[in-house]
Structures are given as structure tokens and as C-alpha cells.
Symmetry: C2
């Protein structure tokens, strides 16, 4: 019989695509095996478990998102950087909802520490360098930005804004503007 050429890498990539198509929580070893035209047990040579697959997709999505954010940030500073970063985040979620959900998977601390999540925090700090905010306020700001971006995108994805006629695009701009204003003035209350 012809071999399918499975590798952990390919499985995780296909799992990410599957997540975008059917939702991250519908990603299953069985579905993935079907997609490769292969028996379920065959995947266990490459994946330890179903959880392992999900974690793999999450790490993959975190990397990919961090790469995009880094691209968006290149050559920008100040409000420009803030807006580009925010848009990268939101754009990724809209383009790859399943992967975005995957990126929000709760990881155990060691895995998280070794993930691209660290880069996300570093990039946020880099943006804040344009705003002259010292510690511990800088950490507070990192957390706020992470919170707003994630929270807004998450609410938008779950349809929480669809009952109001206001364009989410405008809300997004307004929020980014607001954060910029806030960060510029926060040092002197």
C-alpha cells in the first residue's frame, strides 16, 4: 500500500486548517485521520494523544500569530505600532478563527513559558517603549493591552456585537485611539 507520508508537522498544520473549517473543539484524531485517508491508529506514531494534537495546534497558532505581529510591527513606532499590532491580532482571528481559538488554549506553565506567548508579551513591551511608561505601570499596561485585544476579538467572534447597528470596525478604531490617548497621558494623572 502507498504510504501517506505523515509527520507530526503535517498533522498539526492540517489540524490547524481543520480547526478553521469546523472549529477548534471539533478537531479530533479521527477527523484528522479521515482527512489523510488513513486509519486512526496510524496517527499515534506521530502524536502522543488528542491533547497533544491540540497543544501542538495551539503552539503553531501562537507562533504564526507572533510572526504576523512582528511583521506588522516592523518599522513602526508609537500609535502606528499600536494600531498595526492590534490589527494583526484581530485580522488573524478573523482569518483563522479556529487557530485563534487554539491560541487561547490553556497551556501548562512550562509549555506556555516555552511558547511564542513570550514573544507576544515582548512585542507589547516594545510598543510601550514609544510611550515612556516605567515599571510597574508598564506591566499593568501590557496586561491591559493583552486583555483588550483578546477580549474585544473574542467578543466580536462570538457574535456579541451583532445586536447593535454600530460598525465593529469603528469601535475598533475608537478603542485603539483611546488606548493611544490613555498611554500618552497615563504618566501624569
Amino acid at each position: 500500500m502507498v504510504r501517506a507520508g505523515l509527520t507530526t508537522e503535517r498533522l498539526i498544520r492540517a489540524g490547524a486548517e481543520l480547526a478553521d473549517e469546523v472549529g477548534f473543539d471539533q478537531v479530533t484524531i479521527s477527523a484528522l485521520a479521515r482527512r489523510f485517508g488513513v486509519k486512526v491508529a496510524s496517527l499515534y506514531s506521530h502524536l502522543k494523544s488528542s491533547q497533544d494534537l491540540k497543544t501542538g495546534i495551539a503552539l503553531f497558532a501562537l507562533e504564526e500569530l507572533a510572526d504576523r505581529a512582528a511583521d506588522a510591527l516592523a518599522g513602526r513606532a508609537g500609535k502606528d505600532a499600536l494600531a498595526a499590532f492590534a490589527d494583526a491580532y484581530r485580522g488573524y482571528a478573523r482569518e483563522h478563527p479556529g487557530r485563534y481559538d487554539a491560541a487561547r488554549l490553556r497551556l501548562d506553565p512550562e509549555t506556555a513559558a516555552a511558547s511564542a506567548g513570550v514573544r507576544h508579551a515582548q512585542m507589547t513591551r516594545a510598543i510601550l517603549r514609544g510611550y515612556d511608561i516605567a515599571e510597574p505601570d508598564q506591566t499593568h499596561a501590557v496586561r491591559m493591552l493583552g486583555g483588550v485585544f483578546h477580549g474585544y476579538v473574542s467578543l466580536e467572534m462570538s457574535g456579541g456585537f451583532s445586536h447593535t447597528p454600530v460598525d465593529p470596525e469603528e469601535s475598533w478604531s475608537w478603542i485603539v485611539d483611546s488606548l493611544d490617548i490613555l498611554l500618552r497621558n497615563r504618566t501624569m494623572p
Copy 2:
């Protein structure tokens, strides 16, 4: 044999407790049946499906959270109200992590429209009355507040803040302060 006295109400309530103990995604019809010392099939007289149970828990959590938020808001205005609302949100998530996750379940539009999620938005608007913000900015602000609160709590719950020595409590206060400042000044950019 003695009857267990199952009702949809009791099952959902028990499901909510189970979610807090083992995590929302570990809530299963089987586990719930075990908890009641009853056979699995028996639950299907009261629940249409596993999804139905999850949705029920989500709606229950949304109600409970809205009730708490309403209590917190009673008799307060301005920054007081903002802080109380924020704390109610975060407190609920800390006290009932499983239910909080449940409250974030993606509901189909009709279900969502009939849920307590609507009250959440109304309460946020009520807070903003203390800040004199007109439409469409008010909607933008509602979305921002929803986003920050949810996003921050979500990141904190998933351990995203544990690699930095800064106290999440202080970050939370700083963020609420910041939002207050922002909302007070946002009308004049």
C-alpha cells in the same frame, strides 16, 4: 427503587458545580449521572443533549453573573460603579472558574438574544451614563469595557500573568483607574 428527584433545574445547577470542580469542558452527561447516582439514560428525560446541558449551564452562569453585577452596581455611580462592576466580574471568575468559562460559551444568536447577556450590556450602558458619552461612542465604550474585563480575567485565569512578579491585583486597579480617566476625558480629544 427510590427516585432521585431529577429536574432540569437541579441538573444544570449540579452541572455548574461540576464545572467549577473539574472544568467546564469536562462536564459530561455521564459525570453528572454519576454524581446523582443514576444511570446516564435517565438524564435524557430532562436534557435534550450534552450540548443542551452546556448551554443550560452557560445561561445559568450568565444570569448569576448578571445578578451579582446588578447587586454590585446598586446605589453606585461613576468610578465607584465602574470599579464595582469590574470587581463583580473578576470575583465571579475567581470564585467560579467553571461557570465563568461556561458563560463564555458561544451561543447561537437567538439563544444569546434571550440570555442575560443582554442585561450585561444594559448595565455597562448604565455605568456610562455617569460619564456623559453620547452615541456612537457609548457603544464603542461598551465594547471596550466588555473586552477589557473579559480579556483581562480570561488571561489571568489561564495563568498568563504568572511569569511576572507584578501583583495582578495592582494591575487590575491600575486598569480600572485608567478606564475611569479615559472615559472622563474621551469626549474632548
